[in-house]
């Protein structure tokens, strides 16, 4: 049996050899039936067997003539059968490969290399098989033959793999860790940097010069224009019907959908890029993305995949400074920061005019190459100091706002040829010198010149003379926008006083004239007195004030109520609960000299308003020593819309103690507000014949119980 198999095998091998030579000679005339195609497609599966078996056989063959094993019968047999079966399988694999290579989509150099090295394996192995028992076949031949066979197997295997998986299949995952530098938006070319990467990633696996599926190559512009078996890719009459678009937009389960089902599909963005590219009907191969119109859809989609312009760091041609040196130069008032991680460029900011000296700039000698931005705003930098700035040869941005420089000094900055922006707002630069020095800054793009002696006309002339520079002006008070002053303030800590109080009015704007009245009339800027510090009030007084300044509209009139309250109870107690949201300081609210403001429904304003709605406002005031009282005032709020009204009735009771109280007075009714009347704060007061008491009871009822609110922030007892 064994002998029979070996003879049969040897004969089969010879037949295969001849058959393959025949096939190779008449390759051009082959017509392959479908069933044979299927056999051909087994090639990628079968090829692994001859590779492994032949390598094993060659390993054994290599050591065949070693003394200690040369006579081993098993070794001999094993080598023989491995070699025979390996060579036979190699032959069958070559046959299948030749059939497969005739299918569409296989062409190119890689295929040729694979084909001929594969054929070579088969024939070298066949030759070894047939001559290995000749008398001249010695150790040297065996070793050389084995080495050559294995080498050719490796080479052929490599080319085969390259056809199936692509060129850098193995090294590709590594490439992820070393991403290629992205092209910045400005430099990106439509085809090379936007379209081609999509084609290479998702299409070129099958449509490359080596694989040519559908006779289509998608790796270079000429082949793309040529199209494939099914015709041209582009339809210039109706771009949206272009073949390429049809194929990528077919449903995925459609046979002609590209990329084929099972292969990585185009992402939405990728599909959109190809679509917009073809729809534009200009099939850009050389144009830059940035040259497309601003609102062009291809440009906008491309912008999302390209490195965004905002993130393109300027590439600097100098090395980073020593980190330790930079750290040493950083002080509390001098900050030196790299522009970004791994950027060699530094930004220097100096703060605090009190500690500034030019030495702070001179000390930066060690990093003068790296400084690209220098912020000296509001420091007493003089013209002489600018020489020290000129050492920063790579400076791009310089801020000198509100420094002591003049244009004469700017000459010193001329060595700064990279300077892009210069801010000299609030300095004493002048036209004459500036016009001479500006053309020297070739790369200057912006200069801020607001609040300088330059007039608008001069800036216009400078602009005409220096078209490449943008001149930044700013707000000029030409009187066209006349504003209304805000009303005066009162500075008194409290406007509730015992005997007398100075009136302390002020206004935040310098040079304002405050006019006021004490008699309740509207102040004006003719009759009403100008406020000075010498105004004093001795009784309840409403101070009305208004602010005036030339170039401004007068302010609104503002009212300040000064309240006299000579007597302060020693202890206070509420008879009824206050409204839950208007607790203020409880019983102490009424004599704490703190006044509320309008807007009491708002939590932040509620603090000083004590309020009742469902019960009366009842207060008992006790005095350690008897006091003589003759009047009581209530300071209350009226806000018609929200139902805050004056009290209904107010009564004051007095006596030696709580058990012996007599009614002292009942207040006259306060006038009710008109419908929709603006909110106001009012005073109501009632007096009686002086009486000495140790206890007072004050009862005020809401205008309408359970419906209207009564809010009181202070009472005045005299």
């Amino acid at each position: 049996m064994k002998i029979r198999f070996s003879i049969l095998g040897a004969q089969l091998l010879l037949v295969l050899d001849i058959f393959i030579v025949f096939l190779l000679l008449f390759e051009g005339k082959l017509h392959i039936p479908a069933w044979l195609q299927s056999i051909g497609r087994v090639h990628p599966l079968l090829l692994h067997f001859p590779i492994v078996i032949l390598i094993m056989a060659m390993l054994l063959e290599f050591f065949r003539f070693r003394k200690d094993i040369a006579s081993n019968a098993f070794y001999k047999k094993l080598t023989y059968y491995l070699l025979l079966s390996g060579t036979l399988l190699a032959g069958i694999t070559v046959f299948m490969g030749l059939i497969l290579s005739h299918e569409e989509g296989y062409a190119g150099d890689t295929l040729q290399w694979h084909k001929w090295t594969g054929v070579a394996i088969f024939f070298i192995a066949s030759i070894i098989y047939f001559v290995r028992n000749s008398s001249w076949y010695r150790s040297a031949f065996a070793k050389a033959g084995a080495v050559v066979t294995v080498l050719v197997i490796v080479v052929s295997g490599h080319f085969g793999a390259a056809i199936t998986h692509g060129d850098n299949f193995i090294s590709q995952p590594l490439a992820v860790y070393y991403p290629e530098p992205q092209v910045p938006f400005e430099q990106a070319v439509v085809f090379n940097d936007v379209i081609k990467p999509v084609l290479v990633k998702k299409c070129a696996g099958c449509h490359n010069p080596d694989k040519l599926k559908g006779e289509l190559i998608l790796t270079d512009s000429a082949s793309i224009m040529k199209g494939g078996k099914s015709g041209k890719l582009f339809n210039h009459e109706a771009p949206e019907l272009s073949l390429l678009l049809q194929r990528i937009h077919l449903p995925e389960n459609e046979k002609k959908h590209m990329p084929p089902a099972g292969r990585p599909q185009l992402t939405d963005i990728e599909a959109m890029l190809l679509t917009r590219w073809i729809q534009s009907n200009k099939i850009y191969f050389s144009g830059k993305v940035a040259e497309l119109p601003e609102r062009d859809s291809l440009r906008m989609v491309a912008a999302t995949v390209l490195q965004p312009p905002g993130n393109v760091a300027e590439v600097y041609d100098f090395d980073a400074a020593d980190e330790k040196a930079v750290a040493k130069l950083n002080t509390d008032y001098r900050t030196i920061l790299p522009l970004a991680k791994e950027s060699p460029a530094l930004a220097v900011n100096l703060y605090n005019g009190d500690v500034y000296s030019v030495k702070q700039l001179q000390e930066l000698d060690g990093i003068k190459k790296q400084v690209v931005s220098l912020d000296l705003n509001k420091l007493p930098v003089s013209d002489a100091d600018l020489k020290s700035i000129s050492q920063f040869e790579n400076l791009r941005h310089l801020y000198l706002n509100f420094t002591d420089i003049t244009t004469t000094g700017l000459k010193e900055l001329l060595p700064l040829q990279h300077l892009q922006s210069l801010a000299v707002s609030g300095t004493k630069i002048n036209y004459k010198d500036l016009i001479a020095v500006l053309p020297g800054f070739k790369n200057l793009k912006t200069i801020a010149v607001w609040n300088t002696p330059l007039s608008g006309a001069e800036i216009k002339q400078l602009q005409t003379a220096n078209k490449h520079i943008q001149f930044i002006e700013g707000f000029v008070d030409d009187g066209s926008d006349k504003l209304k002053l805000n009303p005066p303030h009162v500075e008194n800590a409290s406007m509730v006083f015992a005997q007398s109080s100075p009136v302390l009015l002020s206004h935040p704007v310098k040079g304002v004239e405050i006019r006021y009245t004490l008699d309740g009339t509207e102040p004006d800027n003719i009759k009403s007195p100008v406020f000075s510090s010498a105004v004093t009030v001795k009784e309840n007084t409403v101070v009305k004030a208004k602010a005036y300044k030339t170039g401004w509209f007068a302010s609104d009139v503002v009212n300040f109520s000064f309240l006299k309250s000579t007597i302060k109870p020693d202890s206070l107690r509420l008879l009824y609960k206050l409204n839950s949201v208007h607790q203020a300081e409880g019983a102490n609210t009424f004599f704490d000299t703190r006044l509320g403001v309008i807007g009491a429904n708002n939590p932040a304003w509620a603090n000083n308003w004590a309020g009742v709605k469902h019960s009366d406002m009842g207060l008992v005031a006790l005095f350690n020593k008897p006091v003589t009282v003759s009047s009581l005032g209530l300071h209350y709020m009226v806000e018609e819309e929200t139902g805050i009204l004056p009290p209904g009735t107010v009564q004051v009771w007095g006596g030696a103690d709580e058990q012996h109280l007599k009614l002292l007075t009942t207040f006259n009714k306060a006038p009710l507000p008109a419908k929709k009347e603006k909110p106001t704060i009012r005073i109501m007061q009632s007096s009686w014949k002086p009486v000495t008491v140790s206890c007072l009871k004050i009862i005020a009822t809401p205008h309408e119980k359970d419906k209207k609110l009564l809010l009181v922030d202070e009472m005045m007892l005299n």
Binding site: M300, N311, T335, L339, G474
Partner: protein, 484 residues
């Protein structure tokens, strides 16, 4: 017993040791396959800890965020809807409202009539953007700002929405945007806090702001927002008590820091170092803050630009002026809150007042930064936490109505800092109710802001309680279309 255990230890022979070890190595190998970062000594975290520099060259170095707290109605300010005006009084079509969740304040309303703006709009600048007559000064700087009309958020009530826009999460306890930036970028001026907060309020219906909005969350407490108040002491407790001079203070701090260093060696709590640094900064702030906060030297033309209120501490205008001064002095993030934009009712009256409070100063801030050449590197943001409904809340009368909360769309604007000037981005439908073009989610907005500051929102992370946190949580994309 102890001896037996000890003895057992000695009875291990070589074979047993090796086989046990191979099992150990095997399981470690398996483990490393299942948890890829098992042996990477936490490289990603180290990266995070080393934060303090931008990931790439930034467009903006500083941010001023003019937060309009309470949610300004887009229909009355920036989103011009003539059709809505025509349809005033008609019921909102259910196709427009869809399945939108309403707040408890209007869900019980039997009718939801549409209401158009009571105020007129005009077009301004080269961008021909529509701006309401309530914003005459903003209209003047329209070519310097980028109006985004398609912002949308997830929350429907003030606190969660505010917290969401500030911290990227509705629940709170996460670091505020300013804290993230402080963490990501470090100090520019070591004598001032990186993140400062200024509050003001208008006459309109207000909603509270709380210090949790400028909290550092789980970040080092050095990154928390410092509130500057309007009183005599803008920063509380910064002033030395009577009788203590600078020298004494210095000695006291030196000694205190020695003590703190000792307890750090004992406990190892990094918060101790944060504390030392905060004391040091407070010491330097003692001289730096009064210089910055002094408004008395501001010239007349600045007062005219910002409006006379800019000299009244605690007003929005004064805060805008202070924001410029702080920003100019290297404060990375100045956060303003202006309260009073919650116009559920009485909208025409209140919004006019609110707009007057902020319009001039907001525009002045943009102009002022620009004229100093600082607008290129300073990002100004103006906006609230959500929008307001196109139907009325409460009774609709000829001259009075209200609007309820509306998270589906709202308008903000940005200026400077590498944002395209003079553009209008995004679009809402004719009712101003749904976004029809270029929606910008709050996380997209945050991602864009970080991007302008040179930070990749997916890389600015902090590991806390076993999870990596970002300002943009797990979503967000940079809106490239509005970047120069």
């Amino acid at each position: 017993m102890d001896n037996e255990i000890l003895e057992h230890g000695f009875t291990w022979n070589r074979r047993r040791f090796l086989s046990a070890m191979s099992l150990g190595i095997g399981s470690m190998a398996l483990g490393s396959l299942l948890m890829p970062e098992l042996f990477s000594s936490g490289g990603a975290d180290e990266e995070a800890i080393k934060a303090g520099l931008p990931h790439f060259a930034p467009k903006a170095k500083r941010i001023i965020y003019l937060f309009q707290n309470g949610a300004p109605a887009q229909q009355e300010l920036f989103d011009y809807k003539p059709k809505l005006r025509e349809m005033t009084g008609t019921e909102i079509p259910s196709s427009v409202r869809g399945t939108q969740r309403l707040t408890g304040m209007t869900s019980g309303q039997s009718s939801l009539p549409l209401v158009g703006s009571f105020v007129d709009f005009k077009q301004y600048g080269n961008s021909r953007a529509w701006i309401s007559d309530l914003m005459p000064y903003t209209a003047k700087v329209v070519d310097d700002i980028c109006i985004v009309r398609s912002m949308h958020t997830e929350a429907i009530n003030h606190d969660p929405a505010l917290t969401f826009i500030q911290t990227g999460s509705q629940q709170g306890n996460r670091p505020s945007m300013g804290s993230w930036l402080s963490y990501g970028l470090g100090n520019e001026n070591k004598n001032l806090p990186n993140f400062t907060v200024l509050l003001s309020r208008g006459i309109g219906n207000g909603q509270g702001v709380y210090s949790k909005l400028w909290s550092n969350g789980f970040l080092d407490s050095i990154h928390q927002g410092v509130q500057f108040s309007k009183g005599e002491d803008p920063v509380l407790y910064l002033r030395d008590p009577a009788g203590m001079d600078r020298k004494a203070r210095r000695e006291m701090l030196d000694n205190l820091s020695e003590l703190n260093e000792i307890s750090y060696k004992e406990m190892g709590d990094p918060e101790i170092h944060a504390k030392i640094r905060q004391y040091e900064m407070a010491y330097r702030m003692q001289t730096a803050v009064p210089q910055v906060m002094d408004l008395s030297k501001e010239p007349d033309h600045i007062v005219k630009m910002y409006g006379p209120d800019c000299l009244v501490p605690g007003t929005f205008a004064a805060n805008c002026l202070l924001a410029r001064k702080l920003s100019e002095n290297g404060v990375r993030f100045v956060q303003l809150y202006h309260q009073g934009w919650d116009q559920h009712g009485n909208l025409p009256y209140e919004i006019a007042k609110q707009a007057k409070d902020v319009d001039q100063a907001s525009a002045a801030l943009v102009m002022d930064l620009k004229q100093r050449g600082l607008l290129d590197e300073t990002l100004v943001i103006w906006g609230g936490e959500f929008g307001r409904t196109s139907y009325t809340q409460g009774k609709l009368t000829k001259d009075n109505y209200g609007r309820d909360h509306h998270p589906r769309c709202f308008t903000i604007w940005m200026a400077g800092g590498g944002i395209k000037p003079g553009i209008v981005y995004g679009e809402t439908d004719e009712f101003g109710y749904n976004i029809v073009k270029d929606p910008v989610h709050v996380h997209d907005f945050q991602a864009t802001i970080l991007n302008q500051m040179g930070l990749d929102h997916e890389k600015l992370i902090f590991k806390h309680l076993g999870r990596r946190y970002r300002l943009t949580d797990v979503s967000g994309k940079v809106i490239r279309d509005i970047i120069t």
